[in-house]
């Protein structure tokens, strides 16, 4: 499965040419990242006005990429992309090392949302949304997880009922990133309760800014309010905004999961993201920043931790490339994307844990003058979010053992029975 048009004409531009063009653009237009003092969702609470400002900046950068023919490197030309190869995208990514990039528009907008649209949308649906996304005009989110659902996204309780040319949606979704500053949503809903769970789902898309959608922001333990919960009450969606067939939404859902895992693994050709081995927001360089701030650059124990983190990061990029190539070349099933998702957690765990370990007591108590050690305790405490959001690591391990290695499936009590009869708790 791939969001990339395999039939694209031979690339007019070489990888090196694109890289050179990207380098020139970046140096002329983008701001280099500062050293130390990384403030991100994990370490600190970003005030709303700053958050809005960075979303606005991300839209600007995306528009500049569009204007300079650097947006949608792997997206087919008919939908506004360049129709080039993953290697071209990688050349752009590598040039971005150390520079700002349109962080807020990558995941979930480019993938899984746009990737799902490219795989399953109609020609008209793609024409309407893909160029808008590539210009930075539409930011998308996923209406996927539900409060009761945990790892079982196919167990969606959000219900869509047909009413003429429209559908009426009711239910609640959760863990969408930044719903309050996003434009469109991709939503998995139940359209049939009388069949087993995978056979009664349908996918819809709709604008978020509607009276029938109430957005509540979820406060994470570190005070961050990036994630939201949404409540849909009699939300009407035209049938033309349905993606895929009625009750066949799990076909779309499987592709959706695939792209989500690839995105979590930073292994999606439609995503623009600098390599993690480099410096930058989650690059290994931040470990050196932390050790320097802790005055431990010469401490063998600190160096051991830096070496561990750098190893983890350095292995990440080639692994994701190997998985991508293995899937594209038919050496691996699509499901192997879960390996990348699991490894993505290894990298982030190292990046969120090691600075805390380097910080000593400053990891528990800090102030504004602590530079790269600011908020390392928050980052450490919230780190499991990365092992949960975007599909838990437990689900990834299930998928790897069952779908990649072919081991027997876990016993389940929801596969053969109508969804309304599935046990949902100790008393049911």
């Amino acid at each position: 499965m791939s969001a990339v048009d395999e039939t694209t004409e031979t690339a007019a531009e070489s990888v090196e040419e694109l890289g050179a063009r990207a380098r020139a653009f970046i140096r002329a237009n983008l701001r280099p990242l500062g050293r130390g003092g990384h403030r991100d969702f994990a370490r600190s609470v970003v005030p709303d006005d700053e958050e809005i400002a960075s979303v606005t900046r991300a839209r600007e950068i995306q528009r500049m990429l569009w204007d300079h023919d650097l947006a949608g490197v792997c997206v087919p030309r008919e939908y506004g992309g360049l129709g080039l190869t993953p290697a071209h995208q990688q050349a752009l990514n590598e040039e971005l090392a150390g520079y700002e990039f349109p962080y807020h528009l990558q995941t979930p907008t480019m993938s899984p949302c746009m990737a799902v649209l490219l795989d399953f949308g109609t020609h008209e649906q793609k024409l309407r949304h893909v160029p808008a996304i590539l210009k930075g005009e539409e930011i998308w989110i996923q209406f996927l997880s539900e409060p009761s659902g945990g790892s079982d996204v196919a167990g969606a309780l959000t219900t869509a009922v047909r009413d003429g040319d429209e559908w009426i949606l009711n239910g609640s979704k959760v863990w969408s990133t930044g719903a309050w500053w996003s434009d469109w949503a991709l939503c998995l809903a139940r359209t049939n309760w009388d069949v087993p769970k995978h056979r009664g789902l349908t996918v819809f898309m709709f604008p978020i800014d509607q009276a029938e959608i109430e957005i509540q922001r979820i406060e994470m333990l570190n005070g961050n309010k990036e994630f939201c919960q949404e409540f849909m009450t009699d939300l009407r969606v035209p049938d033309t905004d349905r993606i895929g067939e009625v009750d066949q939404g799990w076909t779309v859902g499987i592709g959706w999961m695939f792209h989500e895992r690839m995105a979590m693994a930073h292994n999606e050709p439609v995503i623009t993201w600098p390599p993690v081995g480099g410096h930058g927001i989650y690059g290994a360089g931040l470990l050196v920043d932390a050790a320097r701030q802790a005055a431990r650059l010469d401490d063998p124990l600190a160096r051991d931790l830096i070496g561990r983190g750098y190893t983890t990061a350095l292995v990440g990029d080639p692994l994701q490339r190997r998985l991508g190539e293995g899937i594209a070349g038919g050496h691996l099933s699509d499901q192997a994307a879960s390996i990348g998702r699991l490894y993505g957690w290894e990298v982030m765990k190292a990046m969120l844990t090691i600075p805390f370990e380097l910080a000593g007591a400053t990891g528990a108590a800090w102030d504004d003058d602590d530079g790269a050690l600011y908020g390392t305790g928050h980052a450490y405490m919230v780190r499991q979010a990365i092992a949960i959001a975007g599909g838990t690591i437990e689900m990834a391990r299930n998928v790897i053992s069952e779908r990649v290695l072919g081991m027997p499936r876990e016993q389940s009590f929801d596969r053969e029975v109508p969804f309304r009869d599935v046990p949902r708790g100790p008393t049911s």
Partner: protein, 378 residues
């Protein structure tokens, strides 16, 4: 916590538990998030009436213990503090008052005020980067005839903005000296730090040539090394006991969740991959109980292996407490990382205790030195 308590200990523990449930339920803890003191009014004084600050003080100075070993009794309080993520400077205030009491009658008035809960004295030990190596003391205490002069910076200091005075550990040439410094002395500056815990606060305290009468010295000028070593052991034991209580609570919440939460039509508790992780957690939890109880006994008795047992308990609960808390978050899924859920209260407490008074890595260096010394002597 140990299996068998005397009926007096049991009553003592339950009194504190009931008080905490009543005074600082989780809703109150959340409400205290931005409170400068991080505790309800009169909370600490009433806790002191229950005995929270008197157990390491001899009877002559107004203290007393439930059993023979006040430190063991105090770990029962610490355990309940962990179970309830309770506010209050339990570790730092007790370590400080133990040091004041150990100096004989010289600081009897200060001891009495602490025991009564009318005053908080906090131990100011750690120093800022680059002097934050565990055990490093660069703050200077100068003998100047009838007075002493204190110069340097301490960080993090627990309850910095709440304390009435600080027991400051400093250096005088080759020796260590401890000084009781009022928080309002001229030259003392206190700035708060953002702290991982919801109610326990830390700050930076700087001493700009603070001049005090010589009577402010606690113990002998330059002769505090042994006492400071004892304080490290006390703090380690109390952190370990409190962390074990927090682990116990987080684990119980997560076991309960595993039975109630269904996924794919089955309770989480029925998935073997999770069951095996619960088994490991149960092992860490029981080992933490055992390690912190053994450390309390050893330090209380002054056993030859007291230093090693205290550091082993601190290192083990620090590492395994963090692992357990992260596993509990993971097993809860998304709800586990929200502020709305209670789990983070315990994760915070475990994280704070892990970081204060020596990280697990710091205590491993201590343990290695102790073992090498033992083997070289054997």
């Amino acid at each position: 916590m140990r299996w068998e308590l005397t009926s007096d200990q049991q009553f003592f523990r339950e009194t504190t538990a009931r008080f905490l449930e009543d005074q600082v339920p989780v809703a109150t803890l959340r409400a205290l998030r931005d409170d400068p003191l991080g505790a309800p009014p009169d909370y600490w004084r009433r806790g002191a009436e229950l005995g929270w600050t008197s157990l390491l003080v001899g009877e002559r100075l107004g203290g007393g213990s439930i059993s023979d070993a006040g430190l063991v009794d105090l770990t029962l309080v610490a355990h309940e503090f962990g179970r309830h993520a309770a506010p209050g400077p339990l570790t730092t205030a007790n370590v400080a008052v133990a040091a004041l009491a150990a100096a004989g009658d010289a600081h009897a008035a200060a001891v009495a005020a602490v025991v009564a809960g009318e005053s908080v004295v906090s131990w100011a030990y750690g120093e800022p980067i680059p002097h934050d190596g565990f055990g490093t003391v660069t703050l200077e205490v100068r003998d100047d005839g009838d007075s002493v002069v204190v110069a340097g910076v301490k960080r993090p200091v627990e309850a910095a903005t709440q304390a009435d005075a600080f027991l400051v550990t400093g250096r005088s040439g080759d020796g260590l000296t401890q000084v009781l410094v009022p928080a309002d002395a001229v030259g003392v500056a206190i700035t708060p730090l953002t702290t991982v815990d919801l109610t326990r606060r830390c700050g930076t305290v700087s001493f700009a040539d603070v001049r005090l009468p010589a009577s402010a010295v606690v113990g002998e000028m330059g002769g505090a090394a042994e006492q400071v070593e004892h304080q490290v052991r006390l703090a380690s034991v109390l952190c370990a006991a409190e962390t074990t209580g927090a682990m116990q609570r987080a684990f119980e919440m997560t076991v309960e969740w595993a039975f109630e939460r269904y996924s794919f039509g089955r309770p989480l508790a029925s998935y073997q991959a999770l069951k095996h992780r619960f088994a490991d957690m149960k092992m860490w939890l029981e080992a933490s109980h055992a390690a912190s109880d053994a450390a309390a006994d050893a330090v209380a008795e002054g056993a030859v292996d007291a230093a090693a047992r205290a550091s082993a308990a601190k290192a083990y609960t620090g590492d395994q407490g963090s692992e357990l808390a992260h596993e509990c978050v993971q097993l809860h899924g998304g709800i586990g990382v929200t502020f709305e859920h209670d789990l983070h209260l315990f994760l915070r407490r475990i994280t704070l205790n892990r970081s204060l008074y020596g990280t697990p890595a710091d205590h491993r260096q201590r343990l290695a030195a102790l073992l090498i010394a033992r083997e070289e002597a054997a």
